[in-house]
């Protein structure tokens, strides 16, 4: 029995969101009489951090502290329409909608402040700490709370804004068949190192090194968290997970968590991640978002690493010990490829 070390790499382009039906998402922003703001969405945060990121986007656009913004989401009965949290579209699509809504709300807030300060709204700016003042004259100032109270109880004005993000329908070029199905792309490159046991066919992850280009990372800790976890979803797709191991035969399908294989804490390996930030022109503050791309480069990289280790090319997922062993047998033994 020999364990063969192999290294494989993969690079990907990943489209953010989709173009079917224009990929719309809406957001509504309004102030409460306390001077705090509520963002109403129906987009789901299932742990990826969308609530945190939309909160940041709203606060930054309004020019108020992030503590003053509350994101109320996940109820499609009461929130404005969202296509959903998939296709890595949350930060980009919902973020853009929130930004548009916050921009409109900011316009009303500045008008209301201008009325209180008896100046032109164009001469006002926010300090990001909850105050609005005349440019160059910080003492001519009013708090967002006082503006909200004045708007509510005196001026009869709703400090609110509506936002929607919609992709224009991409027409097919009749000459070339060309079209633009996506508005922006993220990119990644990942190198996987594996050990393949030529007696059992088992593949063990040794290390991963990756670089992800995902626009501006609006919340770097959340981006890193997704990349760390998402890579292991990729490993899981590459090596473990399937409901139908002998598809199209439904036999031997897993029935519970004991039979459905997933990586456990003992399977993980070191993973070095570099995040490259190239702001997207149409992203909220340049963001694209990591999303599903976290997992995508891992699959081809692992398949390539297995080929590099033992010379077998498996193009059927997951790459189970059985498939590796059968392929090694069929070619009459492991054939380690050149290391690069």
């Amino acid at each position: 029995m020999t364990r063969h070390r192999g290294r494989g790499m993969a690079s990907i382009n990943y489209p953010i969101g989709m173009n079917l039906g224009g990929d719309p998402s809406q957001a509504l922003v309004h102030s409460n009489p306390s001077g705090k703001f509520t963002v109403a969405l129906s987009s789901i945060d299932l742990g990826q951090g969308m609530k945190s990121v939309t909160r940041q986007i709203c606060a930054e656009t309004l020019g108020v502290p992030v503590e003053d913004v509350y994101v109320d989401t996940a109820d499609s009965d009461t929130g404005p329409h969202c296509m959903g949290s998939f296709a890595s579209r949350g930060t980009h699509r919902v973020g853009n909608a929130v930004m548009a809504a916050a921009r409109e709300a900011r316009g009303v807030m500045m008008e209301a402040a201008a009325e209180e300060l008896e100046v032109n709204a164009a001469d006002l700016e926010t300090d990001g700490r909850g105050n609005i003042h005349v440019k160059g004259a910080p003492h001519r100032s009013i708090s967002t709370k006082d503006v909200a109270i004045a708007a509510q109880f005196k001026q009869g004005r709703t400090i609110s804004g509506r936002g929607i993000f919609l992709v224009p329908l991409s027409e097919v070029n009749p000459e070339t068949g060309e079209m633009s199905p996506a508005t922006c792309y993220a990119h990644a490159c990942l190198v996987a190192e594996v050990d393949v046991d030529d007696e059992t066919g088992e593949v063990a992850m040794i290390r991963m090194d990756s670089a992800y280009e995902l626009g501006r990372a609006l919340n770097p800790r959340l981006v890193e968290q997704q990349l760390v976890g998402g890579a292991w979803m990729g490993v899981s797709h590459a090596l473990y997970e399937t409901p139908e191991p002998y598809y199209p035969e439904p036999v031997h399908g897993p029935r519970d968590f004991v039979e459905y294989l997933m990586p456990g804490p003992g399977d993980i390996c070191p993973h070095d991640i570099a995040v490259l930030e190239r702001p997207a022109p149409d992203g909220p503050f340049g963001a694209k978002g990591p999303g599903e791309m976290c997992a995508n480069p891992v699959l081809p990289a692992v398949a390539n690493a297995i080929f590099n280790a033992v010379g077998v090319r498996i193009d059927d997922l997951p790459i189970t010990p059985e498939k590796v062993l059968r392929a090694i047998k069929a070619q009459g033994g492991a054939r380690p490829q050149a290391r690069r």
Partner: protein
């Protein structure tokens, strides 16, 4: 079916409930006591998110008959907070971004506490073994392991 009276300590507080025969501890805690911190994941002992401590030992509440805890002490995540302060493990999980969707977190925290209670300075391998009965579907094992090691190394105080 007749009800069975059941008395035990729940996070240091005496509780008395009536359960149907065959009720598991997870259902008793969630539905009769109202402690929603142990989660229902698979109901088969395969995921670990229902983990609780019984007399200081880690158990899967979904596989524990409620009747068997009579007179014993059951600890859940709900009892982990120290007054208004987070437990050092909870603090470390927050600081290390060791939760994404959060569904495995209660079980992970209980498994970590059970480990540190009997071994205050575990090695990385011992931490991995201690949480190997718990599935994290966001596969954030790395930050979870780091969070537990941070507490073990005394680098976190609540």
């Amino acid at each position: 079916m007749s009800k069975i009276p059941l008395q035990f300590r729940h996070n240091g507080r005496e509780v008395a409930i009536f359960v149907d025969g065959g009720t598991n501890l997870l259902v008793a805690l969630r539905e009769l006591i109202g402690d929603m911190t142990p989660k229902f994941g698979c109901g088969q002992g395969g995921c670990g998110t229902c983990s609780v401590m019984i007399d200081g030992e880690l158990h899967l509440s979904c596989l524990t008959l409620a009747e068997t805890v009579t007179g014993r002490s059951v600890e859940t995540l709900d009892g982990m907070k120290q007054g208004p302060n987070l437990h050092p493990l909870q603090r470390a999980f927050a600081d290390n971004f060791a939760a994404q969707c959060g569904y495995c977190t209660p079980g992970m925290l209980m498994a970590a506490k059970a480990l540190l209670d009997r071994n205050p300075s575990p090695s990385r391998d011992e931490v991995i073994e201690a949480i190997s009965g718990n599935i994290c579907r966001c596969t954030g094992y790395e930050p979870i392991i780091n969070a537990i090691l941070a507490v073990a190394g005394g680098r976190v105080s609540a």
